[in-house]
């Protein structure tokens, strides 16, 4: 889990591809990822799980600025792209996603089989 694959900016347009920053934690049942993608919307984000790779792509949809003159800017229109290698402990059918305040939260549930199981010892009488 969580090894970045090499990412090369593919965009040749004025939009720039950013690698969104992420927080990741693990529990017994799941992995939780939080990625910051300001300006993206629920509909502009694509999440795919394929061949042990989790790919997150998004586009920021900023207010239309045609007719406006930029006086000063510290960021460009953004496309977001980041991929993670995931182990086979993740059930790709059980992925939950939520997008709130520009932060994408992903819950990747683990397969039942890989969850820790407590084994009770039978005492022979």
């Amino acid at each position: 889990m969580a090894t970045d694959k090499s990412l090369i900016s593919e965009s040749k347009s004025s939009r720039r591809v950013y690698v969104p920053v992420a927080d990741i934690y693990e529990t017994e049942d799941l992995y939780c990822l939080k990625l910051e993608m300001p300006g993206a919307t629920k509909d502009s984000i694509d999440i795919t799980v394929e061949n042990n790779e989790l790919l997150i792509e998004g586009k920021s949809v900023l207010e239309d600025n045609a007719g406006r003159q930029i006086r000063y800017s510290e960021f460009s229109n953004m496309d977001y792209k980041r991929s993670f290698r995931i182990g086979n402990d993740i059930d790709s059918n059980k992925v939950e996603a939520k997008f709130e305040d520009g932060v994408l939260t992903l819950l990747l549930y683990k397969h039942e089989a890989v969850k820790p199981k407590k084994i009770t010892i039978n005492t022979a009488n």
Partner: protein
């Protein structure tokens, strides 16, 4: 048939550098959080700022003279869990933006949606261009 060309290697090296430097994350440390954009449209001034994970209640916007001050706190949403990665920034911030002209204090609108703060400002009457009649 292939002829070795020294410059091919040099170009590869340049691509390697370009790829390395284009792999930047959303936050580039030489700019102060939050990142802003100032746009002008006629008598209007539109300020856009990237504010992922910030609630409207934790944000203050003030206008002092010809400066706009955005301050607030990005509250950490850490949980008591085993973290594999912590890349996000949390904490208090304050940023002052010098506006290119004085603005009217009456028509100010600020919206926060999907982590983007948009502030609409208007030029004050005395900074609007005025045509002077020659008598």
């Amino acid at each position: 048939m292939y002829t070795y060309n020294f410059f091919d290697d040099i170009m590869n090296l340049r691509d390697l550098f370009d790829d390395f430097f284009s792999r930047r994350t959303s936050y580039e440390p030489y700019r102060e959080f939050p990142y802003v954009r100032i746009e002008e449209e006629g008598d209007k001034l539109i300020i856009t700022s990237l504010m992922p994970g910030i609630k409207a209640d934790d944000l203050d916007i003030e206008i002092i003279d010809d400066s706009l001050i955005i301050s607030g706190e990005k509250k950490a949403d850490y949980e008591e869990k085993a973290y594999l990665r912590k890349e996000r920034f949390f904490g208090e911030f304050k940023k002052s933006i010098k506006l290119p002209f004085r603005i009217s204090h009456d028509n100010i609108r600020a919206d926060l949606k999907d982590g983007i703060l948009t502030i609409h400002l208007e030029k004050s009457e005395d900074s609007k261009p005025r045509k002077i009649d020659i008598k």
